[in-house]
């Protein structure tokens, strides 16, 4: 009897799992001509496949738990005055798009992709180009930003935005992105328990990576090259910095790594090469510097006022 019951339950599960996950095709000669029309027809669990072409229907609000996949790198054109995708649902996957022309505004931060949702259990993006702000995550939790190419176009230097911008976020993975030509490559403000791995951040106006008021984050295996300064960690606690390369951050106010008012950090097995100042630290306490390599810098480390209980180890 109990075996019969479990069999029936098994069938129910199978029938449920096959009933979701329809594929909706968007493009010329496809059932849906626009992304909006496919989104309106989709239900949670569906996949919308967008075929190559240029789509001018920004902003695209994604308010259902769906997967949006670009085939042949379709282009979403924001026509210089709108945002690209705005994700407002849990469990959204977005991949394979090129986003263009998000434009610049003093009033609002226009992003290629904006995520505003408290629990994104799976949020992925891939491969795209944009202007001004790239990916803007506000109040997002548990997401992945992976394998994106983000090319900013500095519009008069002070006016460029950040490439990947986190504001009040937690548990976000940022992996394998190539980031060029923004204000800050990756910007964290009130972002906790996030992991930043294997990214290349170069040629940014200000910092390759910037922490403000962000605690318990880790960054590892990244390259920061030719930025105003490589990485700035400010007003933050318990940041772990492992196996990164800080390279060619050269100029009047340029540092490989700038530490200001931080506490209980670990800086281990990084390489600092050809920076005006490898590490500049001020007002930073209880920092462990372990097995870092300093090659051809103007200064390896400059320690300014208010630094207590820091340890430098070399094994």
């Amino acid at each position: 009897m109990s075996r019969g019951l479990s069999l029936i339950l098994f069938f129910f599960l199978v029938s449920i799992s096959t009933s979701v996950g329809n594929k909706l095709h968007v493009g010329q000669d496809k059932p849906y001509a626009t992304i909006h029309s496919a989104l309106a027809a989709a239900t949670a669990g569906d996949q919308i496949i967008v075929h190559s072409g240029v789509y001018r229907e920004c902003p695209v609000h994604i308010n259902k738990s769906i997967t949006l996949t670009g085939y042949g790198m379709p282009v979403l054109d924001a026509e210089g005055e709108k945002e690209g995708f705005i994700i407002e649902a849990d469990s959204v996957t977005l991949e394979g798009f090129e986003i263009r022309n998000t434009g610049f505004s003093y009033i609002e931060d226009r992003a290629g992709i904006r995520v505003k949702r408290k629990h994104i259990s799976s949020f992925r993006t891939t491969d795209y180009i944009t202007l001004f702000f790239g990916i803007y995550l506000e109040h997002a939790k548990s997401g992945i930003v992976r394998n994106n190419a983000l090319h900013g176009k500095p519009l008069g230097e002070a006016n460029s935005g950040n490439s990947i911008h986190l504001w009040y976020c937690a548990d976000i993975d940022i992996e394998g992105n190539l980031i060029r030509g923004h204000r800050d490559g990756i910007y964290f403000e009130f972002a906790t328990e996030c992991r930043i791995r294997q990214n290349i951040s170069e040629g940014n106006l200000r910092y390759g990576l910037h922490f403000m008021f962000s605690n318990d984050d880790i960054y590892t295996g990244n390259t920061f090259r030719d930025n105003g300064a490589g990485v700035a960690v400010m007003f933050s606690r318990r940041i772990h910095m492992l196996n990164n390369l800080f390279h060619l951050n050269w100029g009047q106010a340029a540092y490989g790594l700038l530490l200001k008012e931080i506490y209980d950090a670990e800086i281990r097995e990084n390489i600092f090469q050809k920076n005006t100042i490898g590490i500049f630290t001020e007002g930073s306490n209880r920092i462990n510097y372990v097995d870092n390599d300093f090659l051809n810098n103007g200064w390896a480390v400059k320690v300014a006022g208010g630094c207590e209980k820091n340890k430098f180890h070399w094994k």
């Binding site: 106006l205 403000m212 008021f213 605690n215 400010m234 500049f280």
Partner: protein, 147 residues
């Protein structure tokens, strides 16, 4: 004698130096060391002797100036939120701290040249209004780093 007059003229000329334009993307904040990039939130202080201090955020100016004697400054200037890149008098500006208007150093602090305008933005964005004196009290008593 002629040399002396010339020298005196030169020295007086050097003393009367006023505010300097901020080179965005190049100048660093005197208080927090960050490169100044945000034209809506920058600030500047000039001493009576003509020394210029530049800041990336108004909150950095407030932190810098609050423990000092304000009468030793000839100019205290803040960026006008409505007119990016233009600096206005800090003592007569109206300030809005709004959770919906972030500023570079986490104080959510913005300056307007006119109290009617800051009230109008407050109605739209919510937040609290301040003058220069109440702003200094508010900013310096808040904890900067979350635990």
């Amino acid at each position: 004698m002629r040399t002396l007059i010339l020298l005196t003229t030169l020295l007086i000329g050097a003393c009367s130096a006023g505010p300097q334009p901020i080179r965005y993307g190049e100048d660093a904040c005197n208080y927090c060391k960050m490169t100044i990039v945000d034209q809506q939130h920058s600030a500047e202080a000039v001493t009576l002797k003509g020394k210029v201090y530049k800041f990336d955020a108004i909150e950095c100016l407030v932190h810098y100036v609050s423990p000092l004697d304000e009468t030793t400054f000839s100019h205290l200037l803040v960026a006008n939120y409505d007119n990016p890149g233009v600096l206005i008098d800090a003592k007569t500006s109206s300030y809005l701290i709004s959770p919906n208007l972030p500023s570079p150093m986490g104080a959510f602090l913005n300056a307007f040249d006119d109290a009617n305008r800051s009230s109008a933005v407050q109605r739209e964005m919510s937040g609290e209004l301040h003058n220069w004196q109440s702003l200094k009290r508010t900013i310096t008593t808040r904890n900067q780093i979350p635990n």
